[in-house]
């Protein structure tokens, strides 16, 4: 099993270098279709090779002819570039969905005290430090009246 895994890893490297023959590619597809208990890094590739296998016409699977290396060499790089662009765009979408709303500015310094917005450094820093101290379990009295008095009408 270990030798087979090593061979598969070699084939995968050659696959991404565009150097595999069609029969070697089919060997990869067959492996990822039938193998179980794979290492995590190989398991993550299973969907990709299963998809490749699904789009192979039956006639091609019987042809052991090696493809043009010149044609194959640039393709993985083009795919990698396209995927990188998509990942960067996806990361931007993820960031806005994965976290609370994030301001665009590089530096943001704002507090909303019972609905009233302030960018006073003193107020923002005081509140930030208050919540930090509270979370550090160092205690600290809750002094609501100070903030309420500052923003009362």
């Amino acid at each position: 099993m270990t030798d087979n895994i090593l061979k598969i890893r070699t084939l995968i490297d050659r696959f991404f270098d565009g150097e595999t023959t069609l029969s070697e590619e089919q060997e990869l597809y067959d492996f990822f279709r039938d193998a179980s208990n794979l290492p995590e890094d190989l398991e993550s590739m299973r969907p990709m090779f299963r998809a490749y296998d699904a789009i192979q016409p039956a006639t091609l699977k019987t042809q052991p002819t090696k493809r043009s290396v010149h044609h194959r060499r640039w393709l993985p790089w083009a795919v990698a570039a396209a995927v990188t662009i998509l990942l960067l765009g996806g990361a931007a979408v993820l960031f806005t969905r994965y976290t609370p709303t994030v301001p665009v500015a590089e530096e943001d310094f704002v507090a909303y005290v019972y609905g009233q917005r302030t960018t006073s450094h003193d107020v923002v820093l005081e509140e930030m430090h208050r919540t930090m101290i509270a979370m550090a379990d160092d205690g600290g009295d809750v002094v609501e009246e100070q903030l309420k008095a500052m923003f009362s009408e």
Binding site: M48, I55, V83, G90, A111, Y112, M128, T131, D137
Partner: protein, 151 residues
């Protein structure tokens, strides 16, 4: 060409699935559980956070009812299921009962993320103040975060 299209589509679909596991506590930050008029919110990004090794700090502080506290705990519990580390603590001095939960959430890129939640119950008046803090930065563990918060 077909292979390229398939590969691109697979990556896009995986990104979509990944995006669906966002923080449940976002509902609170967006004011959908407690009105923003009842909360004190801070949002800090930039140089002020450098000494804490943080890049983003957002906190909410509010007084809540029993039912609201329960709802917030529900959201926290859902996020805790996605966390990679969790620490809880409780202090019970004479008048105040304080329960704190700190979560380290899965990183997004190089951003390590933390969610902290605290309830402070005033036993005499049956009131509860809740503090929620979301942080991003280079801090790598809850232990390191606690050290930074204490300093």
């Amino acid at each position: 060409m077909k292979k390229s299209v398939i590969m691109i589509l697979m990556f896009v679909s995986s990104l979509t699935a990944f995006a669906q596991s966002g923080l449940k506590v976002n509902e609170l930050f967006e004011g959908r559980i407690i009105p923003q008029e009842r909360m004190v919110e801070t949002r800090v990004r930039g140089k002020s956070l450098e000494k804490y090794q943080l890049t983003y700090y957002r906190s909410l502080r509010m007084n809540v009812t029993h039912d609201e506290a329960g709802r917030l705990r529900q959201l926290l519990g859902q996020d805790a299921e996605q966390s990679i580390d969790m620490r809880t603590s409780r202090r019970n001095p004479h008048r105040w009962d304080t329960w704190t939960c700190k979560l380290q959430m899965p990183s997004v890129g190089s951003k390590n993320r933390f969610l902290c939640f605290q309830e402070v119950w005033n036993k005499e008046h049956d009131q509860c103040e809740v503090t929620v803090i979301y942080m991003e930065g280079a801090i790598s563990s809850l232990e390191e975060l606690e050290e930074k918060l204490k300093n």
